[in-house]
Amino acid sequence: MELALQQKLVARLATDREFREKFFADPARVAATEGLTVAAETLSTLHHEQMRQFARLLRTRRLAQVALRLPLTRKALGQRFADSFRNYAVNPPAAGQRPSEDAIAFVKHLEAQAAEKGLEPAWALSLARYEAGRLAAEWHNQRLVIRLLPHDVKRLATLMAAGEVPLGDYRRSSLAVWWRPTVASRLKHWLS
C-alpha cells in the first residue's frame, strides 16, 4: 500500500514539472494537499537534481517514441522538433496512452503553435498533419480519414526521402485519403 503511494508520488514528480518545482519548494505542504503525506515522509530525502535528470531521461525517451512516428515532421523541423516537444511534454501522457496517440496530440500542439506564432518552414505543418492522419488511420480504427493540406506533400515527401532539403514554399493543395473497407483489410491510401 505504501509502495503504491510512493510510486504515485515519484511518477508525478518525474512527469509534471510544475508539481515537481512546487513539491521541492515545500514537500510537506504539497504532499498534504495531495494526500501523499506518508509517501512524502519516506521519500523526504529525494534528491531534487536527480529527479530533474530522471524527468529529462523520461522526456528524451518519450520524444524518441514520438519522433519515430513522425519521421517527415522531424526531418522538416530539425532541432525545432525537440524544442516544441519540450513545451508540449510539460504534462504527463495519460495512463494507457499509446505512443501513436502521443504523436497525434503533439501534432495538435504544433497546429496550435503554428496558429499562434507561426512555424518554420510553413510546409512542416502539412507534413505533420499528414503523418497524424496516417497514424489515426493505421492505429485508431478510423476506417476513413481525409486530410486536405495546403502544401505539396507528395513532392516534399519524395524530396526528403531522397535526403534533399526542400527549398521554396511548395504551396499547392494536397488531398490525402486513407480507408479500410473492413476492420481486417489492409489500409489503402491515396495522395494527390
Partner: protein, 286 residues
C-alpha cells in the same frame, strides 16, 4: 531436485542464438538483404499489441527471415497496483504468434496512480518492492508459460530508504520470481559511473548463472553524467564489460540496442559481428 537447480536447468535448455540487434523499421529492407549477418532480431513487443493488419504483416515477414525475440516495456511488473489482465492476454496472444523461446520485461514500473511514465523506471531497493515484483510475476506466469527474463534498468534517480544494494535487489527479485536475467551492461555502466561505483564489481555481485541474454549499446556524456542514450557507437569501456559478462555468464544471446539517430546498418552489423566473436571466444556458441 531443488528449486534453484530446476530453474538453472530450465534456463540451460534455452537455445543458443548468437548475436543480433534490436529491430528498427528504418533499416528493414537493408537488413533483409543482409539477413545472414544477424543470428536473431529483438522486437519491441508492445508495438505489436493491438496492432493493425499491416503491422502484423511486417511481423510475419520478420518471422519468415529471422528468429524473433520479443522485448516488452509497458507491462509494469513493479507496479504496486498490480498488473492489467487484458495486457497479459494480449502479450500471451503475441507470444503464441511468435513462438518465441523466451520474452523479457524490466525490473521496474511504468504505471502508478493513473500516470504513465512511458519507460521502465526504477524501484526502491526494498523487501516490499521485491515482494511486489514476485507477486506480479506469479500473476504473469499464470497467464503465460513462455519463460520470462528480467532486465536491469538505468536511472539517474535512486530512491531513498534502500534496504539493500542494487545487485542484491536484482538477485532477490530473480530468486523470488524464478526468472532469468537480461543483463544490460550499458545500464550497469551508466548507473555505476553516475553513482560512483565499479561496474565490474556490480556484475560480479549478480547471480550470473541466471543470465540468458545481454543488451549492450552506446552511451554518451550529458551534463557531466553518463546516459544510456542508445544513440552512440559502443565505447571500449562497454566492450570490456561485455567481455566480462560473456566470459562469466552462460549467455544465450547478445543484442545490440540502438534507438534514435540510427547509424548506417553496416556500422551496427560490425558491432554485432564483434559481439558474436566474443561469444565464440568463450564458447557460448559455435
Amino acid at each position: 531436485m531443488g528449486r534453484k537447480t530446476e530453474i538453472t536447468n530450465l534456463l540451460a535448455n534455452l537455445p543458443r542464438l548468437g548475436a543480433g540487434l534490436s529491430y528498427r523499421r528504418p533499416f528493414r529492407d537493408e537488413l533483409l538483404q543482409r539477413q545472414s549477418e544477424v543470428d536473431f532480431i529483438e522486437i519491441i513487443g508492445d508495438f505489436y499489441l493491438d496492432a493493425p493488419p499491416e503491422k502484423l504483416d511486417e511481423l510475419a515477414l520478420l518471422m519468415e527471415h529471422f528468429t524473433v525475440i520479443p522485448h516488452f516495456t509497458t507491462l509494469s511488473l513493479g507496479s504496486a497496483e498490480g498488473l492489467e489482465e487484458r495486457h497479459l492476454e494480449k502479450i500471451y496472444l503475441l507470444l503464441k504468434r511468435i513462438a518465441a523461446p523466451w520474452w523479457s520485461e524490466h525490473i521496474g514500473y511504468t504505471r502508478a496512480g493513473g500516470i504513465n511514465l512511458g519507460h521502465p523506471s526504477p524501484l526502491p531497493f526494498t523487501k516490499e518492492a521485491v515482494e511486489t515484483m514476485a507477486r506480479n510475476i506469479i500473476t504473469a506466469r499464470r497467464a503465460i508459460a513462455t519463460p520470462l527474463i528480467l532486465e536491469n534498468v538505468c536511472s539517474p534517480l535512486i530512491w531513498p530508504g534502500a534496504e539493500m544494494t542494487e545487485p542484491a535487489f536484482i538477485a532477490q527479485v530473480l530468486h523470488h520470481s524464478g526468472c532469468g536475467l537480461l543483463l544490460d551492461v550499458t545500464n550497469i555502466h551508466a548507473n555505476s559511473t553516475n553513482h560512483g561505483a565499479s561496474p565490474a564489481e556490480f556484475i560480479e555481485q549478480l547471480p550470473l548463472e541466471r543470465v540468458v541474454q545481454v543488451h549492450f549499446s552506446g552511451a554518451h556524456e550529458s551534463k557531466g553524467r553518463l546516459v544510456d542514450s542508445r544513440t552512440q557507437s559502443v565505447p571500449e569501456s562497454i566492450w570490456q564489460l561485455l567481455d566480462l559478462a560473456v566470459s562469466r555468464a552462460p549467455v544465450r544471446c547478445i543484442c545490440l540496442e540502438r534507438d534514435d539517430n540510427l547509424p548506417p546498418l553496416p556500422e551496427m552489423l560490425w558491432e554485432v559481428e564483434r559481439a558474436r566473436a566474443l561469444g565464440r571466444l568463450y564458447k557460448r556458441w559455435n
